[in-house]
């Protein structure tokens, strides 16, 4: 019997979906310590409702529960995503002028991401950072692939515009 109440199946669903759920929440709401907790809470809810939720409906259930929990946990205001202050290994890039330019670039980038709508940001980052296919994103967000494509494009346009203002 394929059922979420069977621990083996529940575990498989967890391993398949927990990362996606975490990434989705992170890109939608920004950097918050509570996100990992919300992921866990959502799976607890899934376990409690394991009889009612079919395995193929688990994704939709988890995303819905997680969004409701985020709403209850804190006010969804300004989204801030952290970035890695990575130094390149090329010697000539260590000159202060270049470093300053780099810092400005990513600060602007960070602000731009904050200005995107949740939908744009999630689609853009899931695709470009996590390498998720359009089809996967469309399923996750419950929209068509065309919508995903357009959101990625809109996000890119806004980011580019923000960064170009710098120059």
């Amino acid at each position: 019997m394929k059922n979420l109440c069977v621990e083996r199946i529940f575990e498989a669903v967890y391993k398949k979906l927990s990362g996606d759920l975490y990434n989705f929440l992170y890109y939608k709401y920004g950097n918050h310590d509570e996100i990992a907790d919300v992921v866990q809470e959502s799976f607890v809810k899934l376990w409690q409702n394991c009889k009612k939720v079919l395995p193929e409906k688990a994704r939709g259930f988890l995303f819905k529960v997680a969004k409701n929990q985020m709403l209850n946990k804190f006010k969804h205001d300004k989204v801030v995503l952290n970035y890695q202050q990575k130094l390149t290994d090329k010697v000539e890039h260590r000159n202060p002028e270049y470093l300053l330019e780099e810092a400005q670039f990513y600060q602007k980038y960070q602000q731009a991401l904050g200005k995107l709508t949740d939908e744009q940001r999630v689609a853009f980052l899931l695709n470009k950072v996590e390498g998720k296919k359009h089809k996967e994103i469309a399923e996750m967000l419950n929209v068509t692939q065309k919508v995903v494509e357009y959101r990625i494009y809109s996000a890119f346009k806004i980011i580019k515009k923000e960064i170009q203002e710098l120059k």
Binding site: K15, S18, A36, F43, V44, Q48, Y83, L113, K128, K157
Partner: protein
């Protein structure tokens, strides 16, 4: 193809070979690439799936997951219930008390509620110490005198009928031929032959297979408590049965009417004396074969 269209197709991986070349010729090509490459720096922290699942697993145990189609836990629960039930059954059974008296033997039994039973010879009494506190009932056959402590209903089950009381003193004789209940104090209810007879103090009931009759009780206590046996208008056969029981002998009769009624007692420690008193009352004679323990009673 316009620039925006190229960017759209590039972003979504739809550029053809020619379009790709055109896109690479765009003046802001480097910036476009840098934006896409730069996005990777905003990658979400890694979610440690294995570690997080271990954490979650220990939490899930606290939630009842009642909707399992098959859960071995139920099997253990059922087994546990079965074992508990079995243990309880054996515990209750182990609390069964049986008291028997042999010929010439009398015993005094104190029940858990402090009621007292005097058992006459050749009698048996069974009750359960544990269940006694729920319901006062016992099984009894033979001859017994009860002094019942006041309380809930007290039932004496005999092969002939049920005697119920609340708090009283009474005697039950549940032999083979004759069933007798004598009430010395209080009220006794007797269920026999599908009838209920109520006895108040000083009343007795005698029942054979055919008839039930009420008779008065003259003594304050059963005679055998003072060591002799008293009969009132009972057939000779019943008296002989009582002697057989008391002395463990076999009594045979020859050419005599054993339905004659007898009133009186018989000695309880001397067979010869008991027999002598009986035969003299009816004008009979007896012979006693001591080796085979057989008594022959015949006409004079």
């Amino acid at each position: 193809m316009d620039k925006e269209n190229l960017i759209y197709k590039w972003l979504n991986g739809q550029l053809t070979g020619e379009e790709k070349k055109a896109f690479e010729q765009l003046p802001d090509y480097d910036l476009n690439v840098k934006i896409i490459e730069g996005a990777k720096r905003f990658k979400a922290p890694e979610f440690p799936v294995e570690k997080k699942y271990t954490e979650l697993k220990s939490r899930l145990k606290h939630y009842k997951n009642e909707s399992q189609y098959f859960n071995p836990v139920w099997l253990y629960r059922m087994a546990a219930i079965f074992i508990i039930a079995l243990t309880a059954y054996f515990y209750i059974q182990s609390n069964t008390v049986e008291i028997k008296t042999l010929a010439f033997e009398k015993k005094q039994v104190v029940l858990p509620d402090a009621s007292i039973v005097w058992l006459n010879a050749h009698s048996k009494l069974t009750y359960n110490k544990f269940l006694w506190h729920l319901k006062r009932q016992l099984k009894m056959s033979g001859d017994a005198f009860f002094k019942v402590t006041k309380g809930s209903r007290f039932d004496v089950h005999t092969p002939s009928g049920i005697v119920s009381v609340v708090g009283t003193e009474f005697e039950v004789k549940a032999g083979t031929e004759i069933f007798e209940v004598r009430c010395f104090e209080g009220v006794v209810k007797v269920k026999i032959h599908k009838k209920t007879v109520v006895l108040t103090h000083g009343e007795a009931l005698q029942a054979t297979h055919k008839q039930i009759q009420k008779i008065p009780v003259l003594q304050p206590k059963p005679e055998w408590l003072d060591n002799d046996d008293q009969f009132k208008s009972v057939p000779l056969s019943t008296v002989l049965q009582a002697i057989e029981k008391q002395y463990k002998v076999k009594i045979k009769t020859q050419d005599i009417d054993t339905n004659q009624l007898y009133t009186g007692a018989f000695a309880r420690h001397d067979l010869k004396l008991a027999l002598k008193a009986l035969v003299e009352a009816f004008g009979l004679t007896y012979r006693y074969d001591e080796t085979h323990k057989i008594v022959l009673i015949s006409a004079n």
